[in-house]
Amino acid sequence: MAVDRATVARIAKLARIRLPEQDLDPLAGELSNILTWIEQLSELDTEGVAPMTSVVAVALPKRADEVTDGGYPAKVVGNAPESAHDFFAVPKVVE
């Protein structure tokens, strides 16, 4: 599967990664090579084979629905680039 420049720009937008213009063409080439190489999977007949969901056959453990942690907001926001009043601060979203 060949990926063109516009596709790279579109998936970079989806992934929220700013790419400089000059990176688009080289990336289109690299991603095309990788995807072409991956294409060999299509040789395999996987009809009727269930997709693997878990490497270990165990039921997902559940615990009681109760609060077991918390009460230290300063620790939670301690690594934030910007915080205010124990909240994470972001650029204005709503005008």
């Binding site: 990926v3 596709t7 790279v8 998936i11 970079a12 937008k13 989806l14 992934a15 929220r16 990664i17 700013r18 790419l19 400089p20 990336l27 690299e30 991603l31 090579n33 990788i34 995807l35 190489w37 991956i38 294409e39 060999q40 999977l41 299509s42 395999l44 996987t46 084979v49 269930a50 997709p51 693997m52 969901t53 878990s54 490497v55 270990v56 165990v58 997902l60 453990p61 615990r63 620790k75 926001v77 301690g78 690594n79 934030a80 680039p81 910007e82 994470f88 972001v90 650029p91 204005k92 979203v93």
Partner: protein, 493 residues
Amino acid sequence: MAGGADLTIAEARDALAKGEVSARELAGAQIAAVEAARPLNAFITETPDQALEMAEASDARRRAGEAGLLEGIPLAIKDLFCTEGVPTTAGSHILDGFTPPYESTVTANLWRNGAVMLGKTNLDEFAMGSSNTTSYHGAVESPWRRPGDNRPLVPGGSSGGSAAAVAARAAPGATGTDTGGSIRQPAAFCGIVGMKPTYGRCSRWGVVAFASSLDQPGPLTRTVRDAAIMLGAMAGHDPKDSTSVDTPVPDYEAALSGDIRGLKIGIPKEYRLDGTPPEIEALWQQGIDWLRHAGAEIRDISLPHTSYALPAYYIIAPAEASSNLARYDGVRYGLRVPGADLTEMYENTRGEGFGAEVKRRVLIGTYVLSAGYYDAYYNKARRVRSLILRDFTEAFETVDAILTPTAPSEAFAVGEKMDDPIAMYLNDVFTVPASLAGLPAISVPAGLGASGLPLGLHLIGRAFDEETLFRTAGVLEAAAGFDAVPQFVADGR
């Protein structure tokens, strides 16, 4: 070296138990060795003060008669494990300034067992790489050189700093994580032992996530015995990781009986690849002969879907990575690069914070998960993964372990294989299938290649049967008698 920095974990443990050395003295010697190894760039953060403090506390515990499994043993920690109060970078610019307010379960287990932290080791950015050249904190150099050739070599990756530190005697053991070969391949390149346990054996809680269905912590050490001791102290059920398995952790060291008589060892024909260097083929044959002479029964087996493992991996791992790495948004921790609005802030932060290989994989992952491609790529790869697991399940009906080479080449020079991502991915061709199947596997240093660099042999076992792997690896280790020393150590650093 004075003070015990050359001791293995088992030797240090015995010397500590006999009172021949204190944890404080051992930590002092090891801190000096970490400093001496600085030219390798194996550590991102050194924690000498913490090491001495922990060592003194360990000596006090020993005096009080409370010695854990790793009491007083200094260890290096891959900088992918969150360590409370010590910066954790994952080798990425995007985690600039991040200091975890919590401790990963695996490192907490190690400290509870008495281990002492020397520092945080360098790695490929977010553990994505096979050469430790993608770290924001610079490439790691292997302590090995080709005889008569002074070009720096890669230590392998992604646990390259851990492998280099252990090979250079800066630490007797180090934690690693393995997603597609990130413990085993650097262990092979650096001439040490690297063990990837069964998926679920060690908790992933507090380990920076790359591909959650594949990531698994494990030990890098200089001997099989040390790997057995260290894994025993790392492993165990953790309610904070829902994929952590609630099954008892055996005494792995007790499994090292040296007796593999009657054990059935499978040799998969699909691992004989065109273009594999003859010395790797020869070493594999040598490994077969060693095990046969020790009384094992050798059987030819087939794992028919082997060649599809690597392309399936390069769909599944990037898909999971693109999802896991969505959390790096400049809001809650790490780097923030301002933008005119929220979206632009995300894009600027991630554009600047991620390196080239991480971007490449996040973009591949985003693509294969995007509308219209999800079934063709992601679900297809998961179906192929089922077939790969089935290959192993069928093989393990007739054999107890599988022997292969660890990597298709010896270590390469810094700068080689950098232009072609796929050539780099092929480093993991022998390690990825076991990762996809969640199986335990170990690399043992077994000889030197044509240019005088270490080569590893690789054993794959049944799920949760690490004991058979350790036992067989111990036999390989004894037969190989690998005692070559990296130039960096031989030259007195």
